[in-house]
């Protein structure tokens, strides 16, 4: 096992596994979020559970943050290495002739998603931390729905969400299926797997966009 | 001038026991001593690559040299069809003797009996060896190896890997080499060209090589030198050889004392894609297997042929009765499946008479229409159709033909830009292989002690005509199973010699010679490029030393080549510098050798007053125009000794004795 991380394949596997983990998290995140449209009470309950359950807070949350960091750092390392593998560039290069745009621009779509994550963390996570630890306000299992809906009142945030999720979708369109190839899965089931990843890559971001737009259009009237 | 009789050192005793007996009796070098012995192998194709692998595995220190950027790119890689072996897996009555017999007969009784029998004996080891190495031969559904049959034989003994058998076998030998390179037993020099062989006390003790990247001239010493540098078909400029194929190593050895045997024995393959214009650099082979289903024809009328050449008429517009299926007409028994030499000559005869069908007038049709319709009807019947219309039959037939030859048809379409399913293919013969080469004895040693020749570079196994799927067999037999053992007999005397120094008057002289030659090529600064001379030489060879030869033209060829050679040294232009990568300089050195060999080639052809195999002398033919062999006077190997000028070469003869096979006339009527 030693030196595993030093090989190109191992680095790719780290990338794929962290990516798959984030995909899984994305699915879970979406499942909770969509309840905000369907059943605000359930949304409050689940959000509260996620915010105060020690297992989630002290075990899963650090793992998630680590996953994001690993995926980002490794992506950056790979990009730097890959750039170094071709020091003199082609005068003319028709990358579009043999590979789709999304597969060639993962670093770009990834960077945008990362920037979005910054905003997202600021919006929710920093807010949560402040609420819980700095301001040390009491637990309120009913506050989440209203807070969330309120966030989507300004149009600029909705627009940012739409753009970010569009790019996340592109990132997933290549990345999700690609992780299976990296893990060595390329067989008669690959067609099915590819189809599933494509549907996921389009449907989930679309769902998030829907949630944002829905809350923007349906503000809570006091 | 004719001198002495050559000793082939064929062991005594019954044919079938010779090789075993010889192996038991020759001297061996013990493993500890092998570590003190260096062997140089020039050329890394099937013969050189496999020899290098086995020699290093036995314990010798091996240095390999190839002009390519990797040993894996040697032209053995382009062989399509397959490799013969007397495995008799099909149970169709094959045996070592039958393979031996077919090969001697196919060679028109001009090969050495004992060598061919040994080849047939070790052929089975080749397949075992290659499978163990991971060569992915074609297999049947039962998981066992598949075979197919090839021209000139009655059994199915050819092992193959689709149309890439040569590639797979070469990659096997290359892999075996890689294993030894990794162990440090082979030092591989790529992009290196041998420019001379160095003799010390009359023995081959090293080479002078040029690093083709830096232009540096290097000295390499060894206790023996193995030349596995392939054939010299590029003498003709246009051939199915790779662009870099050359005779330099063999020719330099020849100039230092190795006799050159049967230079005029050349195989001209009948089914190649014709020349399309003056710009042509290379010819592409269409597998012989196509003649199983294609019918060869030209128009019956000269006017039709002319109209076709001018583009006014299409071949499909010529009625059946206006076509001349000349092979079927001349050779009713074998028809389109006559051997390569016969088919090639017949095509030339028709084109010379003005019936050629492409714009250059040098092409005949290979027509699959009849096969398509025949297969189509068969397919329609087996799928239960009662009265299918022509279009359906044609469609079904095209599917069958595509399954059989799809990749070849596609390759043809890429080059010619015509669809061979709809219009007949155009084909013409092209130079494909040289049976002649350095003379070697039974141990594969040339007349220079310590200098060996293996594979196509030697002359021994194919006589005057090589059968299909035999070249790969010979290359691997020589390299894996023959040379590594026979060389021990010679090297056993060298266990106390110690390292051969490269600082010696002999190395000095050879290097000086090489440098002078390069200087001369670079300093001429004449008016014509190297290709100009190569193309001119090719034209002379093709027109006067090609498929049909006669005394008058051969003499003319000798004179013209000598003249061209003189002009070359006075007027060639080699740009660039000698101390850097310089492809023109590389070509110049190779063409300079061809300009000498070409003359010897013509001389050999002039000297051989008979027709046999690929060598057809117009003066020696039957009234029907068939080859007329003269066993009385020419059943020998012509081995030429260099005398400073190709025209002054001295002929040495090795009489060919056939004790185990009856010498007959080949007939295909």
């Amino acid at each position: 096992m030693s030196g595993l991380i030093q090989s190109s394949i191992a680095r790719k596997v780290v990338m794929a596994l962290s990516g798959l983990f984030l995909v899984f998290f994305l699915g879970q995140h979406f499942t909770i979020n969509i309840t905000s449209v369907i059943a605000p009470d359930t949304f409050n309950t689940w959000s509260h559970f996620m915010g105060y359950n020690p297992l989630v807070q002290y075990v899963l949350q650090p793992i998630l943050i680590a996953g994001v960091i690993v995926h980002f750092v490794m992506g950056f390392v790979l990009e730097v290495q890959n750039n170094k593998a071709r020091t003199v560039k082609y005068a003319k290069f028709q990358g579009s002739a043999n590979a789709p745009w999304i597969s060639r621009n993962m670093i770009l779509t990834g960077a945008v998603v990362l920037a979005f994550l910054g905003l997202h963390m600021y919006d929710f996570w920093v807010h949560e931390m402040a609420y819980k630890y700095i301001e040390a306000k009491p637990e309120d299992p009913t506050r989440y729905y209203a807070e969330t809906v309120e966030k989507f009142a300004p149009i600029w945030r909705v627009v940012l969400y739409v753009i970010s999720f569009a790019l996340l979708s592109l990132h997933l369109l290549h990345g999700f299926a690609s992780s299976f190839q990296t893990m060595g899965v390329n067989n008669k089931y690959s067609g099915g797997i590819k189809l599933f990843t494509k549907i996921f890559a389009i449907a989930i971001p679309l769902g998030f966009v829907f949630i944002a737009v829905y809350h923007h259009l349906n503000p809570i009237t006091h | 001038m004719i001198m002495g009789i050559l000793d082939s050192k064929v062991p005594k005793g019954p044919l079938a026991d010779k090789w075993t007996k010889h192996k038991n009796e020759i001297d061996l070098v013990n493993p500890a001593n092998k570590r003190n012995i260096d062997v140089i192998v020039v050329g890394t194709g099937l013969a050189g690559g496999s020899a290098a692998a086995t020699l290093s595995e036995l314990g010798y220190n091996v240095k390999t040299f190839c002009y390519q950027d990797s040993p894996r790119r040697a032209h053995s890689i382009a062989a399509q069809g397959g490799v013969n072996a007397a495995k008799n897996y099909q149970g169709d009555g094959d045996s070592v003797y039958r393979l031996f017999y077919d090969t001697v007969k196919g060679g028109d009784y001009r090969s050495r009996e004992a060598n061919v029998h040994r080849l047939a004996e070790v052929s089975t080891n080749i397949i075992d060896q290659c499978v163990a190495q991971g060569v992915p031969f074609a297999r049947e559904y039962g998981g066992l190896l598949d075979n197919r049959s090839f021209g000139g034989v009655l059994v199915s003994r050819t092992f193959y890997a689709k149309g890439q058998t040569g590639q797979q076998l070469l990659l096997g030998a290359y892999a075996a080499m890689n294993r030894q390179i990794q162990r440090g037993k082979i030092k591989s020099y790529t992009r290196h060209e041998m420019l001379d062989i160095v003799l010390v006390d009359g023995k081959a003790r090293g080479i002078i090589a040029r690093d083709l990247v830096s232009g540096e001239i290097e000295r390499h010493s060894g206790h023996a030198v193995v030349l596995a540098t392939g054939g010299y078909g590029n003498l003709f400029f246009l051939s199915t050889y790779c662009m870099g194929a050359n005779v330099m190593a063999a020719w330099k050895a020849h100039k230092r004392g190795a006799y050159f045997a049967n230079p005029c024995f050349t195989q001209i393959h009948p089914t190649c894609i014709p020349v399309s214009g003056d710009h042509q650099s290379k010819l592409t082979l269409m597998s012989e297997s196509l003649r199983n289903d294609g019918r060869i024809w030209v128009p019956k009328n000269l006017e039709d042929a002319k109209a076709i050449r001018e583009g006014k008429l299409k071949p499909t517009e010529i009625a059946e009765e206006e076509r001349d299926y000349y092979l079927e007409r001349r050779y009713p028994a074998f028809g389109n499946l006559v051997p390569r030499d016969v088919a090639s000559r017949a095509a030339k005869e028709r084109c010379d008479a003005g019936y050629g069908v492409n714009k250059t007038g040098e092409a005949v049709y290979l027509d699959f229409d009849a096969a398509i319709m025949r297969y189509g009807r068969e397919k329609a019947l087996t799928s239960g159709m009662k009265n299918p219309d022509d279009a359906t039959v044609r469609k079904l037939g095209e599917e069958v033909v595509e399954a059989k030859y799809g990749n070849l048809f596609q390759m043809y379409e890429k080059i010619v830009d015509q669809n061979p399913y709809k219009t007949p293919m155009m084909i013409y013969p092209a130079v494909h292989y040289t049976m002649g080469g350095l003379w070697v004895d039974y141990n594969l040693m040339t007349t220079i002690p310590g200098c060996y020749a293996a594979g196509e570079a030697n002359f021994s196994d194919h006589g005057a005509n090589r059968l299909g799927a035999s070249a790969l067999m010979q290359g691997l037999a020589d390299g894996y199973f023959v040379l590594p053992y026979t060389i021990g007999d010679y090297l056993s005397k060298d266990i106390r010699t110690g390292k051969i120094p490269t600082e010696s008057p002999e190395f000095d002289e050879a290097e000086k010679h090489v440098r002078e030659r390069i200087d001369k090529l670079m300093s001429t600064k004449g008016t014509h490029s190297v290709d100009y001379y190569h193309k001119k030489l090719g034209k002379i060879m093709w027109n006067k030393c090609g498929m049909a030869r006669n005394a008058k033209e051969l003499q003319e060829a000798m004179d013209e080549i000598a003249e061209l050679r003189k002009d070359f040294w006075e007027n060639v232009k080699v740009p660039g510098t000698p101390d850097s990568k310089n492809q023109e300089l590389e070509k110049a050195g190779r063409v300079a050798d061809f300009l000498e060999l070409g003359e010897l080639f013509a001389k050999d052809a002039l000297d051989r007053n008979e027709s046999c195999g690929g060598h057809f002398r117009e003066e020696y033919q039957t009234p029907e125009g068939e080859a007329l062999r003269d066993d009385e006077n020419y059943q020998y190997v012509a081995a030429w000794e260099y005398q400073g000028d190709p025209s002054k070469a001295i002929l040495h003869k090795e009489d060919l004795v056939y004790e185990n096979i009856e010498v007959k006339t080949r007939s295909y009527k």
Partner: protein
């Protein structure tokens, strides 16, 4: 027809190169691409200029020597062929054609369009073989039956000609398709299974040492491979590597 060329000229590995423009007239559609370059070189020689150096040998698509980036694509615009099989009929009168060498740190330029691909050799030396003695007496070729499907898949992987188009096409200059084809050829055969663990570890290690980039599964290599080597081989190598790492 008349064509305009832009060709990378570089004197030697240590000097800087540049694209140089040439114009060629009288090019015929039936010429192969390399024959067009022959014509250019004859012209250059007649003008006392140095001809363009490019690698080529068999000119029938099997030796893997030719290695030209033509208009930004390895081996030119057509698929499933090498540059030597490309013909001028794929271009039009008046076209501008850019010709460059393969670009990768692991393929340094030697001169003009010629690159050094010995890194590929070293990858294979690291383990691209089955350790049987050629001078030994192996078992009979038919002693171990091999499933036709496995034998065919092994053959398909083995048809790689080692030209380097995969590396040239890859935006990361990764050699995964090449290396995986070699690993797969042996991994699919019972004879090759014996050393499978060591082989994949050693070959991947060497591949990384040579400075090739990482595979990001763009699939460009598969599209440009003149022999149609499949991405399945890369997945297989990943699998082999993972299981070898766990075992090792």
């Amino acid at each position: 027809m008349k064509i305009y060329l832009k060709i990378w000229r570089q004197k030697n590995p240590s000097t800087k190169g540049a694209m140089v423009a040439y114009t060629l007239d009288g090019i015929e559609a039936d010429m192969s691409f390399l024959e067009m370059l022959d014509v250019l070189n004859e012209e250059l020689i007649s003008k006392n200029e140095e001809p363009v150096e490019f690698d080529h040998d068999c000119r029938e698509g099997i030796c893997g020597t030719c290695s030209l980036m033509i208009n930004g694509r390895p081996h030119g615009p057509d698929t499933m062929i090498t540059a030597c099989q490309l013909h001028m009929r794929s271009f039009n009168d008046g076209d501008t054609i850019a010709i460059e060498p393969w670009r990768a740190k692991a393929f340094p330029v030697i001169k003009d369009l010629i690159v050094d691909r010995s890194s590929f050799d070293r990858i294979q030396q690291a383990g691209g073989y089955i350790s049987v003695n050629t001078s030994g007496r192996p078992v009979d070729a038919n002693a171990i039956p091999i499933e036709k499907e496995a034998a065919d898949a092994s053959f398909n992987a083995a048809t790689c000609i080692g030209c380097g188009a995969c590396v040239a096409a890859c935006k990361n200059a990764s050699a995964m398709l090449f290396t995986s084809a070699k690993v797969s050829q042996f991994a699919l055969l019972p004879q090759g299974r014996v050393e499978a663990t060591e082989r994949v570890m050693n070959m991947v290690r060497q591949m990384d040492l040579e400075g090739f980039g990482n595979c990001t599964n763009t699939g460009a290599c598969e599209v440009e491979c003149p022999k149609g080597i499949s991405l399945e081989n890369i997945a297989r190598m990943n699998r082999e590597y993972l299981s070898a790492s766990v075992k090792g």
